[in-house]
Amino acid sequence: MANLTSEFLGIRSPNPFWLASAPPTDKAYNVNRAFEAGWGGVVWKTLGEDPHIVNVSGPRYSTIHSNDRRVIGLNNIELITDRPLQTNLDEIRQVKRDWPDRALVVSVMLPMNEASWAKYIPMIEDTGADALELNFGCPHGMSERGMGAAVGQVPEYIQMTTEWCKKAASIPVIVKLTPNVASILPPAKAAKEGGADAVSLINTINSIMRVNYDTLTMYPTTDGMGTHGGYCGEAVKPIALNMVAEIARNADTADLPVSGIGGISDWRDAVDFLALGASNVQICTAAMVYGFKIIDDLTDGLSTFLDDKGMSSVAELVGKAVPSVTDWQYLNLNYVEKAVIDQELCIKCGRCHVVCEDTSHQAITHTVDGERHFEVIDEECVGCNLCVSICPVDGCISMRHLSDGEDPRTGQAISKEKANWTTHPNNPMRKQD
């Protein structure tokens, strides 16, 4: 069995799965249950200054469901902890004492003045916590008060606040980034400039879930009024993966350790984050949908996967896929693929035909010799992968690489030379010798 032991900023945990700072890590009771279930670490729900904030007593969550009510996305408007600071500090101290082998990181959100950081950071550090995570991400509520995403959206603020925190802290500092930005790179660079030991991402995405079709108000509401919240769950994973990969493949930020967050539901999602550059992962929504027991599949699945790949540790997987991520302009334009339909597996639903016909390149037949028959027309197929993506039968349609001869669509010979947009004759900005 592969060893899942994880080390992140020198903090050891029995596996790379931490519970993200969120409702599941609000108090000792929940955290103890998580550790009993086998979670590697937790990021304690965000602490703020005294007196503590308050939450609404109406709906804090809403979801997007599939028709069998599988939760695809979750929105929340819960703020940071609404318990007294001292209660949290006492519990953190006790939990760390009871679970010395687990990672215990404390999330923190404070006003934009150095005094606040100088006052509260030592109090938190005194609990014995392993690290701090700066919440520059929550897009709702706290951002109206100049905290959370209000900081995370301004690189200068990120840098300044990180510096204040670093000045007051002796334990590692992780900066949690908001995805509600045009590019993740400036915030990540700012965190690094400010002295962050690592970044974690993504926090939730600004969102309104839907309207109530009876009342034609937004949904959900508290006494008839609602507000935008933070969106998370499996629907956000691709957005998070891109941001993680951006940081991992950019020279300025590539050496910044990343804790990956965003829609991780099972071990395969964790593999995505790790291979695209995260050193460990944090999870919240899946636990809020199914409970802490999901850790069994996360650890077991990842361990089996590493065994199958002949890897003995998580570290070997980290960043494996990063070299395969590039800019569009560097994709090989001489590389040609065609879809091919396995007639043995085809159930003749016709979806590939109609989507290609209606929305793509008219490259799949409907009738051949009077029979219902779906076949790729190589002369039209641009290799777009739409049919592969929408075919209901796994493995029925696949892509085939044309390695020689000519492309029946263009009539041009297949070239083994690589050529990309940077040198393409149609590119007015092409590089010229």
């Binding site: 599939s66 028709n67 069998d68 159930i347 003749k348 639903c349 016709g350 979806r351 109609v354 409907h366």
Partner: protein
């Protein structure tokens, strides 16, 4: 029957047990079940299920509307092609129609439950008596529809929506035809057939004359004079006979008559039920009478059919239903003699087989079954004494009326559909399609 033998009596089961036995065969889907099932539909292009539906319902279309909680839109998609979409959802042999064509069969051998989804979409409309259609402006034309079964009502409704006035003539007390008097009770509970009839009639423009029979109370010639067009959806009038004087033996009954009685009974425990029942025939009616006899408390029910399971008119699902209800199906056996000994009927049976040319012949093996009642379920025919003369002038094939692809008969101004026409499968859904096609054809004819 002169006197009822002791082994034929009511109250074989108490009322509660009978009510349980005649509760719904397939309970309806809940909303969450329907949403999950609807999600299984692949929304096929040029969908094979739609092609397989005799009425051509846009099945992926109505299922997608279920998926988005647009249940009324879904019902409209169904009713637009098949005004008896509610009954068809209950009685269609979907396993040989839409569900057989479902591509999921190739994928995982479990089709989308189209019938149940159709019911999910259509039930609320009938339950709440929601009107989904509007009548076109009056055409001033009047059409006679003879027979208020699926074909006649489908035709009448479509004609009414197209702006014509319709008079439906029906021989029975209630409209609905076999939906009301024929289909097995556990397939259409809660008086659904009558509620559906009322909903169909609520479009307006349809007058109903009950208890009048073509041939006895009025003639086709009169209708042709009084109306702009005539549609005949008169079903089949009389049960086929076994022949060789077998039909006159006391204790030999017509399955359809008993089923009609059963369907109209307020308290089914009051129906006389035999201890042992033999059913002759291999169609839906044979299964219906056999299963219902069993559910009424008959101890032993045997079906005797002279050919194999594949040739039976009853679908494999129906055959299986009979078997799981404890009915024994005996294939390749033909009754050759019926004798009554006191209270018991002895059925002499001859084994059958196919010769090299595929013709049925006696195998030479004989056996005997005993029964208190023998039900004939060997089909029906159009001609009966009352109708006799009325069929004159029609081109007939195998004793049924010949129609063209628009359901027009050989007589000018007369269309026909349902079981009384030749060449189709005697299914409710086909009758509905006939009625619809005839109405469209009549409309074109009257406006040309």
């Amino acid at each position: 029957m002169a006197q009822t033998p002791a082994h034929i009596r009511p109250h074989r089961l108490d009322k509660n047990e009978i009510d349980k036995n005649f509760s719904e065969l397939h309970p309806p889907l809940s909303r969450s079940e329907a949403l999950i099932e609807a999600d299984r539909c692949y929304f096929c292009y040029d969908a094979p299920c739609t092609t397989a539906c005799p009425t051509g319902i846009d099945i992926p279309g109505f299922i997608q509307k279920i998926r988005s909680d647009n249940v009324r839109g879904s019902a409209q998609t169904i009713f637009r092609e098949n005004i008896m979409g509610g009954m068809c959802a209950r009685v269609c042999p979907t396993e040989v129609l839409c569900e057989q064509a479902c591509v999921r069969n190739d994928h995982e051998e479990k089709p989308v439950e189209i019938g149940l989804l159709q019911r999910y979409a259509t039930d609320p409309i009938i339950d709440d008596d929601t009107q989904l259609f509007e009548r076109a402006k009056p055409s001033g034309k009047k059409i006679a529809v003879v027979g208020g079964g699926p074909a006649g009502l489908s035709c009448a409704h479509r004609l009414a929506t197209l702006g014509h006035d319709v008079v439906v003539f029906d021989k029975d007390e209630k409209l609905g035809g076999l939906n009301e008097y024929g289909i097995a009770a556990y397939k259409t509970t809660n008086n659904f057939a009558q509620r559906e009839v009322e909903w169909i009639l609520s479009i307006g423009g349809i007058d109903v004359k009950n208890g009048v029979t073509l041939g006895a109370d009025f003639t086709l010639a009169q209708l042709r004079k009084q109306f702009d067009a005539v549609f005949l959806g008169i079903g089949l009038g009389s049960a086929n006979e076994l022949g060789d004087d077998l039909d006159s033996v006391p204790g030999i009954e017509n399955a359809i008559e008993y089923i009609a009685e059963l369907r109209q009974a307020d308290d089914k425990s009051e129906l006389p039920v035999a201890r042992s029942v033999v059913v002759i025939g291999g169609g839906m009616t044979a299964i219906d009478i056999a299963v219902q006899s069993k559910r009424l408390g008959a101890e032993r029910v045997d079906i005797v059919y002279r050919r194999g399971p594949e040739q039976m008119g009853a679908s494999p699902f129906e055959q299986n239903l009979a078997k799981t209800n404890g009915v024994a199906i005996h294939n390749w056996l033909q009754p050759v003699g019926l004798k009554r000994h006191d209270a018991v009927i002895e059925i002499e049976l001859m084994g059958t087989e196919l010769d090299k040319e595929g013709t049925l012949k006696a195998s030479g093996e004989s056996s005997v079954l005993e029964a208190d009642v023998v039900f004939k379920a060997i089909g029906q025919r159009l001609a009966d004494e009352k109708l006799g003369n009325e069929l004159k002038g029609f081109e007939l094939q195998y004793g049924r009326i010949v129609v063209d692809e628009t359901q027009a008969t050989s007589i000018e101004g007369v269309w026909a559909g349902g079981d009384c026409v030749s060449g189709d499968d005697d299914l409710t859904v086909s009758a509905v399609q006939h009625g619809k096609l005839a109405a469209l054809s009549i409309d074109r004819h009257l406006r040309s």
